[in-house]
Amino acid sequence: MSEAINKAVLESTQIAIMEQLPETGVPARSPLAHQQQTASRTAPENPGVYLWESALKTHLALRGDANNADFANGVEAATGLALPEVLQSNHNNEWALSWIAPDEWLLTGPGDQALAMEMSLREQLGGHYAVINVGGGQTLVRLAGPRARSVLMKSCPYDVHDRNFPVGKVVNTVLGKSQATLRRVGDDEWELVVRRSFADYIWRWLVDASQEYRLSLEQPTQGASKNRAGRLQASPVEN
């Protein structure tokens, strides 16, 4: 299928586009698959931190001029999401669009939609812009639980306090000796965009940082991570 579409878009955009996903049953291996396999599955009681990989999503880097209304409108038309302001994100059920730089955004969403989304963006956009599929090169790590913020305080120099980092904010910052894009997705839940080759390091860094808080490597069941009361009582070193 892709041949024809590619040609068409290629001609209009002068950009090479390709379907990068195999059509059938080819196994994909996310950057943290090996950690998931080896991790002990016995979750502690009353975990303070939950850590899991949100693997194999679509990741598209979007470049363009925010001041160009056509660009902003085009992105909104394609994604259903308004172009977020500086250090902000917008999301709907499927897609999240995060500010990365004055001329860059990151669009993440369902893993099988990369090409379709890129195509629809390219249909909507004109002028000087770029869409880059980076989904193989990064993954999403989720960090949740009443002590998730403590883990981040151990890891990132950025101020992750409620007053400075409300839900929806996005910040690319230092994590250990690597880096990550942090997005606050809930009171007690964060999403980290990490590069594939660093993912193992970051994972082990986070696991180590969580040691004292009782770490679960499972996704919390609904509500478990939203327990704000639990969070308040459990933070003697937060500020």
């Binding site: 500086v86 250090l87 730089a101 860059e104 120099p157 950025y158 910052t173 230092v174």
Partner: protein, 100 residues
């Protein structure tokens, strides 16, 4: 440990996110081939290196990846302003209270 205002991110960030990139406002000669060795050498290597106000380039390397300028006192390490690439500095000399 500097706390640097990124003019693109619009907030202060920790020094670890940035890399310093040397003196600002040195533009590449428009016709390098017309430069003498001396002129080219000056462009490559010779710097103001002031003790006092310094206009310098930083990049928000672990952040928005944007280069920008800062005016910093190389003695007190106070950053007096940061501004976007292409803009001119507003602080070009010490006021009395800033003299260190």
């Amino acid at each position: 440990m500097f706390y640097i205002y990124c003019p693109y991110c619009g907030e202060h960030r920790e020094e670890e996110e940035f890399h310093p990139k040397g003196q600002a406002h040195l533009s590449r000669p428009t016709d390098p081939d017309a430069c003498s060795d001396e002129e080219w050498g000056d462009y490559l290597y010779f710097r103001d290196n002031p003790r006092g106000l310094h206009h310098e380039i930083w990049v928000h390397a672990i952040g928005c990846r944007k280069f920008f300028n800062a005016t910093r006192d190389t003695q007190s390490y106070e950053i007096l302003e940061t501004y976007r690439m292409g803009d001119a500095p507003r602080v070009t000399h010490f006021t009395d209270t800033q003299k260190s």
